[in-house]
């Protein structure tokens, strides 16, 4: 089962939008092991009082479907990440995927700066859109469902990213 560490951005997206009657996060949870850093969970709890998407994330944590993990502090890495001024959740998401225990995990991230820094650190990462493509190619999702998920989250990405993803998925169908 694919192991994923979700940054807050894609988690928020996946907990808000539906495809084929289910939340995007539930389609992912059906075939992947999802982990979030403790700092992202802390925000889920705070925001859960105000936002339904945060409540949905919290419910999945409470049900044990999304695992919460606190990264082991790494002074060297922290010094590097501090240079970029990341939020606590981003710091922990990058730290987790940098740890040996999560070397086989993919960081799911939609933020430009976090993506670039994860690349510099050699951390394997995917945009949420590319995770959908990956799961379609792996046979975990049908291409039609993949397209539905991409359409559902359309407002959260630049148009070119969406259209490019749909073209890739179109090739998977034909």
């Amino acid at each position: 089962m694919l192991k994923l560490v979700f940054d807050a951005g894609p988690l928020i997206t996946a907990c808000k939008f539906h495809a084929e009657g289910q939340l995007v996060i539930d389609h992912i949870l059906a075939c992947c092991q999802v982990v979030i850093p403790a700092a992202v969970h802390k925000e889920v709890v705070i925001a859960g009082a105000r936002f339904p998407d945060a409540q949905r994330a919290g419910q999945r944590v409470d049900a044990g479907r999304i695992r919460v993990v606190t990264p082991v502090p790494d002074a060297g890495l922290t010094r590097v990440l501090n240079l970029y001024g990341f939020g606590e959740g981003e710091q922990e998401a990058l730290s987790l995927t940098y740890e040996n225990a999560f070397k086989d995990a993919l960081l799911i991230v939609d933020d430009h700066l976090v993506y670039l820094v994860s690349d510099r650190l050699g951390v394997p990462k995917l945009f949420l859109l590319d995770l959908i493509v990956h799961l379609v190619r792996d046979g975990q999702l049908t291409a039609a469902l993949g397209c539905g998920m991409v359409e559902a989250i359309r407002t959260r990405y630049p148009e070119a990213f969406i259209e490019h993803t749909l073209l890739i998925l179109g090739q998977e169908i034909s």
Partner: protein, 94 residues
Amino acid sequence: MRTITVTLEEKLEHFVKQQAESQRISPAKAIEDMVRVGFETRLKQLYSRYVQGEYSLGRLAKELGLTTWDVVHLLEERGWATHNLPTASGHQSS
């Protein structure tokens, strides 16, 4: 909503009094309005750094004293793009 006490230097106190009188609102409401304007101004400054990829979403939230969930909802309410990925035109789209 919480009530807080602020100490103003004399010229600011006069300014608040003048604003309150001219708009026929209480001094507290005048200060509240100014803080709101200040927040929106700061949000625009920080958002500009975010869309240029200089700040991450978490940094934007941290600078505003909010959670990332708050910020995403805040941007959506304003019809602003919630992502900071590059676009074909070089500008952010919603």
